[in-house]
């Protein structure tokens, strides 16, 4: 069992014990511990269960590569599943629970899967559960789902208590990795006067060298690190960040760095994570190397750990994984672990070395220290259940049939060699070379990831570049399986991917079944798809695959390295954008008034517009009816500020608008307004609105609320890219004005009450004219236009005066019962008049002619945008569906989107149809349902009765009528 050593531990502060809980049990660690170190120090070697077989799992590694030791952390608003204990800094009160077991970590029912392992080889799902058909969804899949998954889902109704943010930084050189290589690179770049950011994922600097007591430039690594860091900190052009991981290298030098600002001090008033979005001229990946496990039977038992991790625990945290630790290796580095354990007083009964007669300096040191080296030997099998009890040895070069010796121990430290961390090199397409001597992939300097100038923009250095620094070491010997000729039963107990339970036998089966591409093997077996993304398992797996296919490893190649390097919180990805600032909310100058006056909101793009203003106890439907009745009977106000207002001006403005609108704008007289349509080049309607000619060279074009920015960009596109010699300026004045529609028979009286210098009389200011002047004390531009069929003025005043103007209108209108109305009343009233609405009658497939708007499509103009498109056969066909009014015979309201079915079926067995409803409302004015729709040859069929679908699946009959239901003669608006 693991335990805390009495002395040592370079990172812990024994004077600051910290209490934490694991599965409810209170344990004690020290300041400076990781959670993993604290668990091991407290003797907790069993920390979780594996994915598929629910096998007992212990801590394997000491850093980001850890596959097993994941826990649920925190509670309530701070609960987080799958937290990696090896990178979690201990704090007082930390609460952790183990995962993926029921009912308990020690006794897990799911572990029967492990007993049935023979029935669950790679890909077994694809071969099973095929019959009976419905069983997959209802019986098998629920079981598969329940037993898979790892951590518990956070509670759905609680909200994350933490905040997150992001930061944009720019630099010449970004150095990822704070080991000797990274610090050296940062120092060099800084010396050249570069702007440098150097980041280290861990809390501590120095990487491996400080643990291993190496010397750098003639001084102990720790001192060197401190000195270099001091210099870097002092340099204003250098930014030094620990607890910050380079998560992904993206195109053109964009690097995401994930800073864990406050994970180690939860509750602090700080952002929990900060996502750095760094734009770097060059990226130096000094990300070190990761040790590989060895594949021997039982290598997944709690207590079997990476040799360097064991060393980390001993040196950094004064924790030993056991009292008797067997070391097994194929290289010299693991001898450092043996020596470190020995120095700490831990028994190392044997160093099992697959090599015959290894002789490096470290080997000699170990021998000199009296440690036994069993060379040419292998671990045949690890004994134990939830903990290691011993190892069986056999000849490395055997099939493992004969057990040479059994050695009692409670932990195993293994090393299969090292693999450079080439992720950051690879994210953007950097290619790799196979290094025979080290048996690893390293960056191929001739094929780097290319930046925007076509040059390589990532460099690897140090161990990440394959420079492991052990110059006087004996050569390592590639070992992909132990013993070399292990039989099936052993291979079926050799774990490659301990989290996802992928074994050597699984990869071999995949190869046998033809899943020969490494990508197929990965997907068939799930090798490397777990939360550690195969940091430990991938190289071993593809070596096994290569062997099974009888091809060299480089021919097999690797799977694709994808960001992030280790998982990053979704909270950090969303950053500050949540709640009120999740998305911009656009507000008109009267927004606050609407809010205060009970508006029920409707999102319109990023705006929010009042749908209606329900009063106490009133339903939305009632409110809408009340608003309409008031407008039709007296007067009402609409906030129309969201409408687009584009100033189009210049000598060629008229010519330009003739190209943009389907109708003729050049003939419009100053002082007048005209309704216009815009189409895209396919001929489909894209926007509509009223154009006012301000003077000879100047037009004010109104667009729909959603259209303002789109149409502005559309205009600029044509002016800049097609007709660049035309003299036209466009200025977007949408937000300059608050625009208010004063609508109803009493509209004129209300405005006249305000006073001012505009003659509002019918004669002086006829329909479709506009005037500029003063209304009361307000500077106003008044348009006599109507979307409701009533006497109506739309008035633009400077936005800053919008609220005051609104107030003045409310006050002036009080005697007429003045009230605001919302978008729904607007819609119903326009439908009563048979006016189309972009987005209702149009949907991107409708041309003006479909809507009976032929009158607004110029026959005279030789060209306008959309004209060519409208000439295509499908557009001119007499069989198009065209706009009509629809009146149900029973007065009911037609359903939204209802179609008019025909008896027959088409070739694909679908019911034929002859029309559809585009807008449908209850009209309080007429006391019945009214609708508009597109009907096959509709206008030719006036008076005909056709049936439409109802919501409940029935049919209702409706008569085809003129779309104008109200005041067809226009007597109400032209007063």
């Amino acid at each position: 069992m693991s335990y805390r050593l009495a002395t040592g531990g370079r990172l812990i502060d024994r004077s600051r014990p910290l209490d934490f809980t694991f599965n409810g049990k209170t344990l004690r660690g020290f300041a400076g511990d990781t959670l993993a170190a604290a668990l091991l120090g407290a003797g907790q070697t069993l920390v979780g269960r594996s994915f598929k077989y629910h096998r007992p799992r212990g801590i394997v590694a000491s850093g980001a590569e850890e596959p097993n030791a994941l826990v649920g952390m925190g509670e309530g608003q701070r609960f987080e599943p799958n937290q990696r204990t090896t990178t979690t800094e201990l704090f007082s009160g930390l609460k952790a629970v183990s995962q993926n077991h029921w009912p308990s970590l020690d006794f897990d029912i799911g572990a029967v899967n492990a007993k049935l392992w023979r029935f669950f080889p790679a890909g077994f799902y694809y071969k099973m559960f095929i019959h009976p058909r419905s069983f997959w969804k209802h019986v098998y899949e629920p079981i598969v789902r329940q037993s898979a998954g790892l951590g518990k889902a956070p509670d759905a109704e609680t909200r994350d208590a933490d905040r997150y943010e992001q930061f944009y930084a720019h630099c010449d050189v970004l150095v990822a990795g704070g080991g000797i290589a990274g610090l050296t690179a940062a120092r060099a770049a800084a010396a050249e006067g570069k702007r440098v950011i150097v980041i280290e994922q861990a809390a501590h600097w120095g990487g491996r060298a400080v643990v291993d007591g190496a010397e750098v430039e003639g001084q102990p690594a720790a001192g060197w690190v401190e000195a270099v860091l001091g210099d870097l900190h002092a340099n204003p052009a250098v930014t030094v960040l620990n607890r910050t991981m380079a998560a992904g290298v993206h195109d053109h030098g964009y690097v995401l760095a994930y800073q864990r600002v406050a994970d180690h001090e939860p509750g602090a008033d700080k952002p929990r994570h900060r996502l750095w979005r760094v734009r770097a001229g060059h990226v130096i990946a000094a990300t070190g190397a990761i040790e590989r496990p060895l594949s021997f039977a039982g290598n997944d038992l709690p207590g079997v750990m990476l040799a360097a991790a064991v060393r980390d625990y001993v040196v950094n945290w004064a924790v030993s994984p056991g009292k008797r630790v067997v070391v097994v290796t194929n290289n010299d580095d693991a001898y450092r672990t043996a020596l470190a354990l020995h120095a700490a007083g831990v028994a190392v009964p044997v160093i099992i070395d697959a090599r015959t007669e290894p002789r490096g300096a470290l080997v000699e040191q170990a021998r000199a220290a009296g440690l036994r080296v069993a060379d040419g030997m292998a671990v045949r099998s690890v004994k134990g259940g939830k903990a290691v009890t011993g190892v069986e040895l056999c000849r490395f070069d055997s099939d493992g049939g004969a057990v040479a010796e059994t050695i009692a121990c409670d932990a195993v430290a293994m090393s299969g060699g090292w693999s450079p961390v080439v992720h950051l090199w690879s994210h953007c397409g950097g290619k790799l070379l196979w290094d025979e001597a080290g048996a690893f992939f390293r960056p191929d300097p001739s094929r780097p990831p290319l930046g925007r100038d076509g040059q390589g923009f990532v460099t690897c250095t140090g161990a990440a570049n394959g420079d492991l620094g052990d110059t006087d070491a004996a050569p390592m010997m590639p070992v992909w399986m132990m013993p070399a000729k292990a039989d099936y039963l052993l291979r079926a107990k050799m774990w490659l991917d301990p989290q996802n339970d992928v074994k050597v036998s699984d990869v071999q089966l995949a190869a046998k079944e033809g899943y020969a591409s490494v990508e197929h093997t990965k997907r068939y077996t799930t090798l490397g798809m777990a939360t550690d993304q195969g940091k430990l398992s991938n190289i071993n797996g593809l070596a096994i695959l290569s062997d099974a296919l009888g091809q060299p490893i480089p021919q097999t190649g690797t799977t694709t390295f994808r960001p992030p390097y280790t998982p990053i919180s979704l909270g950090a990805i969303a950053g500050e954008a949540r709640g009120p600032i999740f998305q911009p909310l656009r507000r008109t100058p009267m927004h606050a008034w609407h809010e205060a006056n009970g508006a029920h909101w409707e999102p319109v793009g990023q705006w929010r517009r009042p749908y209606c203003y329900p009063r106490d106890g009133e339903s939305h439907g009632h409110a809408v009816s009340r608003e309409i009745t008031q407008v039709r009977g007296s007067v009402g106000l609409l906030d129309a500020s969201t409408l687009g207002k584009l100033l189009v001006t210049g000598p060629d403005a008229a010519k330009f608008l003739d190209m943009l609108y389907t109708n003729m704008m050049s003939t419009l007289k100053p002082g007048k307004c005209r309704y216009g349509l815009m189409c895209n080049e396919n001929g489909f309607l894209s926007d509509d609105g009223v154009v006012a000619r301000l003077d000879d060279q100047t037009f004010l074009c109104h667009t729909t609320s959603g259209g303002a920015d789109r149409i502005h960009a559309w205009m600029e596109d044509w002016l800049q890219c097609e007709w660049w010699d035309w003299k036209v300026h466009v200025v977007n004045l949408t937000e300059e004005y608050a625009q208010i529609a004063v609508v109803g028979p009493n509209a004129r009286k209300v405005l006249e009450k305000l006073g001012g210098d505009i003659d509002l009389s019918k004669e002086a200011f006829p329909f479709m004219d506009w005037r500029e002047g003063r209304l009361g004390k307000f500077r106003a531009r008044v348009f006599r236009i109507s979307f409701s069929g009533e006497l109506s003025y739309e008035i633009a005043v400077p936005a800053s005066e919008g609220q005051a103007f609104w107030d003045a209108l409310m006050q002036a209108g009080a005697e007429f019962g003045m009230m605001p109305y919302g978008t729904e009343a607007l819609h119903v009233m326009r439908a009563e008049k048979g006016f189309i609405m972009i987005g209702d009658e149009t949907d991107g497939t409708v041309i003006p002619q479909d809507l009976g708007l032929d009158w607004a499509v110029s026959k005279k103009k030789p060209d306008f945008l959309g004209k060519r498109g409208m000439e295509r056969p499908a557009m001119t066909s007499a069989d198009r569906w065209k706009l009509v009014g629809l009146e149900t015979l029973d007065g009911s309201v037609l359903a939204d989107g209802a179609l008019a079915p025909l008896p027959g079926k088409n070739v694909n067995g679908q019911q034929e149809t002859q029309g559809r409803v585009t807008s449908t409302y209850f009209s309080p004015t007429l006391g019945r349902g009214i609708a508009m729709g597109l009907v096959h040859r509709g206008p030719e069929r006036m008076g005909e009765v056709i049936a439409f679908q109802t919501e409940s699946g029935g049919r209702v009959e409706a008569r085809i009528v003129d779309p104008c239901f109200y005041d067809k003669a226009g007597e109400k608006q032209n007063v």
Partner: protein, 107 residues
């Protein structure tokens, strides 16, 4: 995440400040054009694997459109130039030729 330099204002900014407008140097075919010309103008695209001439707008910056040559396989940017041109400038073509000898050229 591209990093682009706007030739109109000189700002080098990330992709999020720009908007792409598709293939450059399309010749508009309006009323009176043949079906084939109109179809080609409206829909058919080179969509090349390799050198691509395209339109960009500095939407969150100076608002101007410009044209750019970029490689769709490597994302290398060969250069940007004004929108008010009907074919790529010679120096950009030369630069691409130098970088991509196998490129068949601008047609």
């Amino acid at each position: 995440m591209l990093l682009l330099t706007c030739p109109c204002c000189g700002v080098t900014a990330e992709e999020t400040e720009f908007a792409n407008g598709g293939e450059a140097h399309l010749k508009r075919f309006g009323p009176g054009s043949s079906d084939a010309d109109y179809e080609a103008y409206m829909f058919n695209r080179k969509n090349p694997r390799g050198v691509h001439f395209e339109r960009w707008r500095h939407a969150y910056g100076c608002g101007k459109w410009f044209l750019m040559a970029r490689d769709t396989m490597t994302l290398e940017v060969y250069g940007a130039y004004p929108a008010q041109t009907t074919e790529p400038p010679a120096e950009i073509v030369a630069k691409i030729k130098a970088r991509r000898p196998e490129w068949e050229g601008y047609k």
